[in-house]
Chain length 218, copies 2
């Protein structure tokens, strides 16, 4: 109970203040549809005045939403970071665990963002989401050891990524059932199954499927 | 070359005129992003005056777009109509053939609609698209002979429908490669593969997978 423990008296740097406002915004956007979050709510959650929020985000809610989305996209990209060590499927399972924790924590915001038709959705927000999808695909190609994936492998991986998103939305919609571990295992098994289907037509994918069980260190 | 062959002199009924304008709008929206289609373009394509277009669609482009989308959604639902006769997988293949023809014919509009971030996208347009997805899922449950699908079967079917959409978008993006017949077969094989994955955890899905090869007449 020393005075130093009272954060209200500490002056934040511009960067710290921006982070604080973004953090407050992200938690609000995580659990409410964007149309139900006002700048007043963000100011209140951060314990600052509304003009201060406007000073940092003069473009208003749209700018704040896009900044929060960029910050969430950055967090999602970190979910995909996985050491290139050990068998491939447990790596995928660990990345999915992190991704599904993110989905669990940002449930309402995640649904609102991906279900479309939101008032704050623009070609810029769509581009941010597409950037995350592309990053996920690049991580997968890299872990599979395929620097130059052909069209059939790319279609398989990108389609599976969309299936993961769809399954996450349905999972949220079904009150987070089945249990997250079952969902994660099912998604990994789906990954193997769809690659195996493609492998019958595509030698590059066949080679990838052949290597899935290997303990690949590079 | 009789005067009766000159359609310009025939007076269209309200319903005929509406269909004509919607038809002109649909062909424009099929091949251009909605932001690149003006009411002037629609009037020109239909050979009528701009005020006439406004008389039928007083809400302007947004109303016209939504009406065109509803008409496209109706067309898509017809793609799913398939007699409940013969083995299940060829039925699915025929429905996919019709669906992929639709995608092929409406390429730009289909991409613009599903890729999001369009200026004409609203919660209403999203609801129309979701209605088509739900109709597709209901058709599948009905063909599978499952009036009351459990959560695991539902998640599998709904996830596969999203995968079909994603694959269609990627196919358009890749200049319609691979050939449409290969894409269709690959989607059918994926359907079997993802159901088989779910069957290992879910008795209802296991029963469905067991019946896939049967020649079911009802």
């Amino acid at each position: 109970m020393t005075p130093a423990a009272t954060p209200a008296y500490r002056r934040l740097s511009v960067e710290e203040r921006r982070s604080q406002l973004l953090g407050a915004a992200l938690s609000l956007f995580a659990h409410r549809a964007p149309e139900d979050v006002s700048l007043d709510d963000v100011a209140e959650a951060a314990g600052v005045s509304r003009p201060l929020v406007y000073r940092y985000f003069p473009g208003g809610k749209q700018q704040l939403y896009e900044a929060a989305l960029r910050s969430a996209a950055e967090e999602l990209r970190l979910c995909f970071d996985e050491a290139r060590e050990g068998p491939l499927l447990p790596r995928l399972a660990r990345a999915l665990d992190r991704y599904l924790s993110f989905v669990d924590e940002h449930d309402t915001g995640f649904s609102a963002l991906l279900q479309g038709g939101s008032v704050v959705e623009t070609s810029r927000t769509t581009a941010i989401v597409d950037g995350v999808r592309r990053a996920a695909a690049e991580h997968i190609y890299s872990h599979l050891g395929v620097p130059d994936p052909g069209p059939r492998l790319r279609m398989t991986v990108r389609t599976w990524i969309t299936a993961v998103e769809a399954a996450s939305l349905i999972w949220l919609d079904e009150d987070k059932q089945p249990p997250v571990e079952e969902l994660r295992d099912w998604l990994v098994e789906q990954f193997v199954a769809v690659l195996t289907v493609t492998a019958a037509r595509d030698p590059q994918t066949a080679a990838v499927v052949g290597g899935l069980g290997e303990d690949d260190r590079d």
